[in-house]
């Protein structure tokens, strides 16, 4: 009676969803590379290196936002430590990139420059195998996963939830940041990793490499969205949202919320790790400030702006906030924090469902207006009013549920 996973996958996304996936893939893997490589720079449709790097970066952020949404929007658990998992993935892959520099560093040593600077004679044990690409990818997933699992196990087991959990995750990433700031930790201290040269032997600045990284980012985002879709549509997803809405009821009908929370928490962290691993070669630097408290909270606002509890919302949110950021920081750097601060305030006060919720509301209103016009003489039958107010009431309830 079990449906093959492939059929479930197809059914889970629906024809419209698959069409969107196909179009995105076509644009990312065919049109963008063509526009970048074939068209001259003066051409209006030319996609610049800057644009590719920026969009690639935002795609990585979008993956983090979706991962955050899985745990916050659907699980009702607000993590203020997702920046840590992202950075851990970045550091794991960054180790590989540092090793790929080879002897081309300023000290012409086999060791990364910062180790020579510290007068270290050999690689610390945890750098073992860091010159293998696959091992680096494995670490980028496994390290955030294991840390999230251990932390989550203890936190969820003792039923730390709500704001307590948020604060503790914040402390976690804060502690990690302090730890990575130390030079003795062996990850380049304050400066982190930078000056990368190659990836799998290919120059990291070559347009082809950048396009491949860009394409991989798109693939990761699509994969994350599909995975999210499948998870949410499964019974697991239903239990997860049930835990968000009424955890004690879930326990009294025999589910152990610990394992459900732990699963989605770990998956979310691993996705962040992968996103971090793709982010570092595109941006060319990773340092402990990625683990700062502010960075992690910003992830939450991407999700909130886009609309939590929807899968596509966080993608929009990450794009809107980060595009604004890059515009503000070049045009009005001193007003960026005002904008971001007000965004936090206004979205939580007036846009609990984010832009996706706003869009849904607007289209619903249009449909309603059309329906009202159709039967202009009947002044809204009681049944209609009933369903209408119910529909309006539910999203507000959803917001509450997610925050409880």
């Amino acid at each position: 009676m079990r449906t093959p996973a492939s059929i479930k996958l197809v059914a889970g996304l629906g024809p419209k969803g698959w069409l969107a996936v196909a179009i995105t893939a076509l644009v990312a893997w065919v049109l963008v590379p063509l526009a970048h490589l074939m068209l001259p720079e003066s051409h209006p449709l030319h996609v610049s290196t800057f644009a590719i790097t920026l969009i690639g970066k935002i795609l990585c952020y979008a993956v983090v936002a979706v991962a955050m949404d899985l745990i916050w929007g659907y699980g009702g658990i607000l993590s203020l430590g997702h920046g840590l998992f992202f950075a851990l993935g970045g550091y794991s892959f960054g180790m590989y990139l540092m090793r790929q520099i080879g002897r081309e560093g300023s000290y012409q040593s086999d060791l990364p420059d910062f180790m020579v600077f510290l007068d270290w004679k050999e690689l610390p044990w945890y750098w073992t195998g860091s010159d293998h690409f696959l091992w680096a990818i494995f670490l980028a997933v496994a390290v955030p996963g294991v840390i999230a699992w251990i932390f989550g196990y203890f936190a969820f087991r003792s039923r730390i939830k709500g704001v307590y959990f948020s604060i503790i995750t914040q402390a976690l990433t804060y502690a990690a940041m302090l730890f990575f700031f130390r030079n003795e930790t062996g990850f380049g201290g304050n400066n982190g990793f930078t000056d990368f040269k190659r990836i799998l032997g290919y120059s990291i600045t070559a347009p082809e490499t950048r396009l491949v990284l860009f394409g991989l980012s798109v693939a990761l985002l699509l994969g994350t969205l599909i995975l999210g879709r499948v998870l949410i549509a499964s019974k697991f997803g239903k239990v997860l949202t049930a835990i968000r809405d009424a955890e004690s009821r879930v326990m009294f009908i025999g589910y152990n919320p610990l394992h459900y929370k732990l699963f989605i928490w770990t998956v979310s962290a691993m996705l962040c790790g992968l996103a971090g691993a793709l982010y570092v070669p595109q941006v060319g630097i990773i340092n402990p400030s990625e683990m700062s408290v502010a960075n992690s909270i910003e992830i939450a606002i991407w999700v909130a702006v886009g609309g939590r509890g929807t899968l596509i919302g966080p993608v929009f949110g990450a794009a809107i906030v980060n595009l604004s950021k890059s515009w503000f920081t070049t045009s009005f750097p001193e007003y960026w924090l005002f904008f971001l601060g007000l965004l936090f305030i206004l979205v939580t006060l007036y846009l609990p469902q984010g832009v996706v919720g706003l869009w849904a509301k607007l289209t619903r209103r249009e449909a309603k207006a059309a329906a009202a016009q159709a039967k202009a003489e009947t002044p809204a039958a009681p049944a209609a009013r009933n369903s209408e107010s119910n529909a309006a009431e539910l999203p507000a309830g959803a917001a509450k549920g997610a925050s409880a």
Binding site: F154, L172, A175, F179, I297, F344, L349
Partner: protein, 535 residues
């Protein structure tokens, strides 16, 4: 060295007989000599007289006012030229006095000699100061021994005598006579000074195969003496660490007390709490600027004025925050968290635009600088003492407000059962605003305290927000007593860990400890148990 001691003894013998007379011009001549040794001997000789005239001459020497003119040593003071031996003015003033120079080694010796001379001063305070000065840096012990011999005998004051006895013992350590050294070691064993310990250490060290100290008895005595000094040192070191821990804890307490009201009692997560601290600190800065410009005579009291100003400014900002944002988010803690984070960003940027992105300088008033010396290696700085006292005072105020006033009763009523409080006529909305304002005002007070020991800048608040939340989480929601114990405990524990593992690791360990602690007691130290906890 031998020669030097000999000459010293000679001079001592001389001055014992020729007391109260003018200084020996021949001895003074030595000062003018080009020979280093002769100069040195002359200085020591002068010092050993214990005479006021000698002091005058040495002071002049230290001030580069001693000169040679017309074959005798003179002191040039203002337009006058005085005879060094008698102190009488020479008229007419001889032409072209040739100044007597000092090199560094000699200058040090002059300073030491001056200190030694002051041991005979009539003023008790001056004698004490001189003794302490020598205790801190005795220089050449052997040279001082004769003076100390004399001084110990002459001294009547108990406190000074103790110090002198120690100095004396210290000087006697260099004696060639083992019995003298043994006695000296035994006397030194009663001290509690790291300097004395350092002095004794060479006695038990080996050079090559042989011990530096050849006499076994002296060596064993030295070993016991070092042990007992270490015991005393450990005590005061621990006391010092506890004090710095308590002072760190009292700062955490000030940062967390406001939070204990807004979060602990009202359940509002205020991520902009750190920025309220920052506002308090900038209020102190503003008051300092105002006092410097308008009331320069009272500049030392700007801090007193800053306390109420910081309270009201922070309270007003807090109330505005409550009215405009937080009020609409009651019962939605995660949204409150995000919105108040937004507020904190806006406040940080506003501070940057108003005061600049750089840290500003807030000075300690004069009455807060310096410290109280408790033991040889333990001094409690006034600014920290004042902060500890201040946080105790604020704690008392908060306790009184919450437990003894009508407002406090209303706040507790509203937090326990909002609808019921509303029903019996408590203006819940106004109480919320007021309570939030008070919590914010207390954060402002914390900011004033912080401005005295930490950098004041737009970002200063962000560093404290994690710590303050840890205090509240550890202490348990809604519990003032919990917050107090958690703050002091965290302060002391992290100071001890810092001494043991360094600041960063200490911080990480504390965070890990809190995470583990919450495993065991999810509701904090002082948890309320019962059915209503989870609702």
């Amino acid at each position: 060295m031998r020669r030097f001691l000999l000459s010293l003894g000679l001079v001592l013998g001389l001055c014992a007989t020729g007391a109260r007379a003018d200084l020996d011009p021949a001895a003074l001549k030595g000062l003018a000599s080009d020979d280093f040794d002769a100069k040195q001997a002359a200085i020591t000789g002068l010092a050993a007289t214990g005479d006021a005239d000698a002091e005058r001459v040495l002071k002049a020497l230290a001030d580069d006012a001693l000169a040679v003119a017309g074959g005798r040593v003179v002191i040039t003071a203002g337009g006058q030229v005085l005879d060094a031996a008698s102190g009488a003015a020479i008229k007419p003033a001889p032409a072209n006095p040739e100044s007597i120079g000092l090199n560094n080694a000699l200058r040090q010796q002059v300073d030491g000699a001056l200190a030694a001379l002051r041991l005979f001063s009539a003023d008790r305070a001056e004698r004490l100061a001189a003794a302490k000065l020598l205790l801190a840096d005795m220089g050449d012990g052997a040279a001082l021994l004769p003076i100390l011999d004399k001084a110990v005998k002459a001294e009547a004051d108990g406190e000074i005598k103790t110090i002198l006895a120690q100095l004396h013992a210290q000087a006697r350590l260099t004696s060639p006579d083992a019995a003298v050294r043994l006695a000296a070691v035994q006397t030194l064993g009663e001290s509690a000074s790291p300097a004395v310990k350092a002095l004794l250490l060479p006695l038990i060290e080996k050079q090559g195969d042989a011990y530096l100290e050849t006499d076994d008895k002296v060596r064993y005595a030295a070993q016991t003496a070092i042990k007992s000094i270490e015991g005393r040192l450990a005590w005061s070191e621990t006391a010092g660490q506890i004090f710095t821990g308590v002072s760190l804890g009292s700062i955490l307490l000030l940062a967390a007390l406001g939070l204990a009201i807004t979060y602990g009692v009202m359940g509002v997560i205020n991520m902009a709490h750190g920025e309220l601290l920052m506002i308090g600190a900038y209020s102190a800065y503003a008051m300092q600027t105002l006092f410097r410009a308008s009331f320069p005579d009272f500049v030392d009291y700007y801090l007193v004025a800053a306390v109420p100003v910081a309270f009201f400014v922070a309270a007003l900002v807090g109330m505005a925050m409550e009215r405009t944002v937080i009020r609409h988010l009651y019962g939605r803690p995660l949204e409150t968290l995000l919105a108040t984070w937004g507020l904190s960003l806006v406040l940080i940027q506003a501070a940057r635009l108003l005061f600049g992105a750089q840290n500003v300088e807030v000075a300690n008033p004069v009455w807060m600088s310096g410290g109280v010396q408790i033991a040889e290696n333990l001094s409690l700085p006034w600014n920290r003492l004042v902060i500890v006292a201040f946080s105790g005072f604020v704690l008392l105020l908060v306790w009184l407000m919450m437990n003894k006033t009508r407002l406090g009763m209303f706040v507790r009523a509203v937090t326990q059962n909002r609808p019921m409080a509303g029903c019996v006529g408590v203006p819940t909305a106004r109480i919320d605003t007021l309570a939030f304002g008070i919590g914010s005002g207390i954060a402002g007070l914390g900011g004033v305290a912080l401005s005295q020991i930490a950098n004041v800048g737009p970002d200063m608040g962000t560093g404290y927000i994690v710590d303050s939340f840890m205090v509240v989480v550890l202490g348990g929601v809604g519990q003032l007593a919990g917050a107090v114990w958690a703050a002091l405990g965290l302060g002391v524990v992290s100071k001890f860990l810092e001494g043991w593992a360094g600041a960063v690791i200490a911080k990480i360990l504390v965070l890990v400890f809190i995470i583990i602690f919450i495993q065991k007691r999810p509701q904090g130290l002082f948890a309320l148990k019962g059915r209503f906890v989870e609702n």
